[in-house]
């Protein structure tokens, strides 16, 4: 039973990070109706920027965090400006493919910078373990999880109370209607890419803190995409729910099935779950069901 609790707890902590990645993808989809593959790379970029400022330039933690967020935000803005904006009005599928092109481009640069090695930072969050409900939990991950929940809270407040958040929701509803009530859809698109890039950067740093920066880190973005699909592409609460669910499922299934089949369950659990969910609920757990017309 303790084993089970331990697995659930670890899964929950990991799931928070998946949820964050998924949230960044959901943010973009909600407003622009583009599914982004590029956010995995933004994650990697954020982690690299943080590592560079913290380890290479020996800046203090707070400065490093601000600079890394700033760099990633600029990157998100640049992607929107150079790649996404020329494709406004084109089929959405082309926009999806251009995020894929951005993914490849940044992947190449990521490889060039890392050169097949891995980078890690010295622990910058408090370490140690505390016992929660009979299961020991690493404090580092607890702190990351806390940050992740705070971010979700922040997003909820942003969408509920601020002008730009409301503008984003209006844009998500209908681009032309939003334009006609005086919202600049273009600047909303820019803002949403900046915001989601920053969310991705936080997720990237938190993930890199657990598993180091190495080549497959951006590919966790693809896992984030599956989480987003499981939760529903246009639902931020769905992303949180699906992320936590998936984290728990991965760890529990890996804990119990790995000895039986010889490892690796953790890598596929997400995808098996996705295939099942898509067959049962094609629009995800909390996604909006669209009724299509010709």
């Amino acid at each position: 039973m303790t084993d089970f609790l331990q697995l659930v707890l670890l899964g929950l902590l990991e799931g928070g990070l998946y949820a964050l990645v998924a949230a960044s993808i959901v943010l973009v989809y909600k407003s622009t109706h583009v599914v982004s593959l590029a956010h995995g790379q933004l994650m990697g970029f954020g982690a690299l920027a943080f590592w560079f400022v913290l380890v290479k330039l020996h800046m203090p933690l707070l400065v490093a965090a601000v600079l890394a967020l700033g760099f990633t935000a600029m990157m998100g803005w640049a992607i929107e400006r150079c790649a996404m904006r020329p494709l406004i009005g084109q089929p959405l599928f082309a926009a999806f493919l251009i995020t894929f092109a951005v993914f490849l481009m940044m992947d190449g640069i990521f490889q060039l910078i890392l050169r097949g090695e891995s980078a890690s930072f010295a622990a910058f969050l408090p370490e140690g373990q505390i016992v929660l409900a009979g299961a020991p939990a690493p404090v580092t991950q607890l702190v990351s999880f806390g940050i992740c929940l705070l971010l979700f809270l922040g997003l909820a407040l942003l969408f509920q109370y601020t002008k730009i958040g409301l503008g984003m929701r209006a844009t998500a509803e209908d681009h032309q209607l939003a334009q006609s009530v005086g919202i600049s859809v273009r600047s909303i698109f820019s803002a949403i890419w900046v915001l989601s890039a920053m969310v991705a950067a936080v997720a990237g740093v938190a993930l890199a803190n657990v598993m180091d920066i190495y080549y497959p880190l951006p590919y966790l973005g693809i896992k984030g995409l599956t989480v987003a699909l499981v939760g529903g592409l246009d639902s931020v609460p769905g992303a949180l729910l699906a992320g936590l669910l998936l984290g728990i499922l991965e760890n529990v299934s890996a804990g119990y099935l790995d000895p039986l089949v010889g490892g690796g369950v953790k890598e596929v659990a997400a995808y098996v779950l996705l295939l099942f969910i898509l067959l049962i609920k094609p629009y995800g757990l909390l996604g909006l069901v669209r009724i299509e017309r010709i």
């Binding site: 494709l87 599928f93 951005v102 490849l104 097949g116 490892g263 898509l278």
Partner: protein, 349 residues
Amino acid sequence: MWRPSGTFDETYRQDMAIVRTPLRWALVILALGLFFLTPVFGSYYIVSFLNLLAITIIAVMGLQIVTGYCGQVSFGQAAFMAVGGYASAILTGKMGFSFWVALPVAGIITGLYGLLGGAPSMRIKGFYLAVATIAIHFVTMWLLLHLSITGRSHGLIVEPPQIGSFVFDTDERMFYIIMPVMLILTYGARNLVRTRVGRAFVAIRDNDLAAQVMGINCFYYKMLAFFISCFYAGVAGCLWGHLTMVCHPEQFTLLHALWYIGMVIVGGMGSIPGVFFGVILIRGLDELVLIASPVFAEWFPWLGSAPAAGLGMTAFGVVLAVFLIWEPRGLAHRWEVLKASLRLYPFAH
């Protein structure tokens, strides 16, 4: 669309012909004849590069049918190739079938496996289906790495094909298997897209609801598209396995599938010649980067000693972005424009 000047089609057969005039027949036969002499004159490097191109063309041709014609994006092509390769390796190595039986059977097995990939298309489409095929890729790879019949992480050793005592164990010899297969499959694809089935695919791509209203059984045709596409992938994987004489999950990564999608885009969605353009351009670019990267490494020491992989990816991404923004219809469109202007050469209209 554009007819050669002075050539008139009087029957439906003539109108639908792939090779239109006797002159073109002569040119096609001459070109093919010369092409098949390549291993005699060309170096090993050229022949092995052509083999790689041809296998990629087969795989991308399948992807073109399901993505370019039927509009169902599949990121699973590499996994399907792996299924074909492993199926053939098991059929020839463990069950004692000859290569000539294993080649089509591996294609059919992969096609049936591909129906699994197409099954979600019953309820989902677009991005959802694209991500579902990524999921299928990872599940397939996991199975290949964990089943005992596929040799787990060791992969499988594949025997080269054989006729009597003649063994196709070099690139030059495999050339004479790969190229005819590629040509037959190209003809098959070209023929398919001018039939009722091909038109149904295009209708589904353009608007699947409208297609359904017109009486096209969407699910059936989507599954058919996946079956055909995976048949191509299976044949390509089988040839690839027999060429390299080994089957290993490392040969069929998600990255390969991403490259194939990129080739379809660069070549032009919904065009069979586009497959050739896309594959040749991207593979050529990759080869160029491979040749140029030591030079770059010398000029720019901060790139590290082996920048080929990273540079190749970056270049590929840039090319893809450029095509999506400025030439979304791909090289095939340029090719059509060029042909039309050459045909009317001295006169503008």
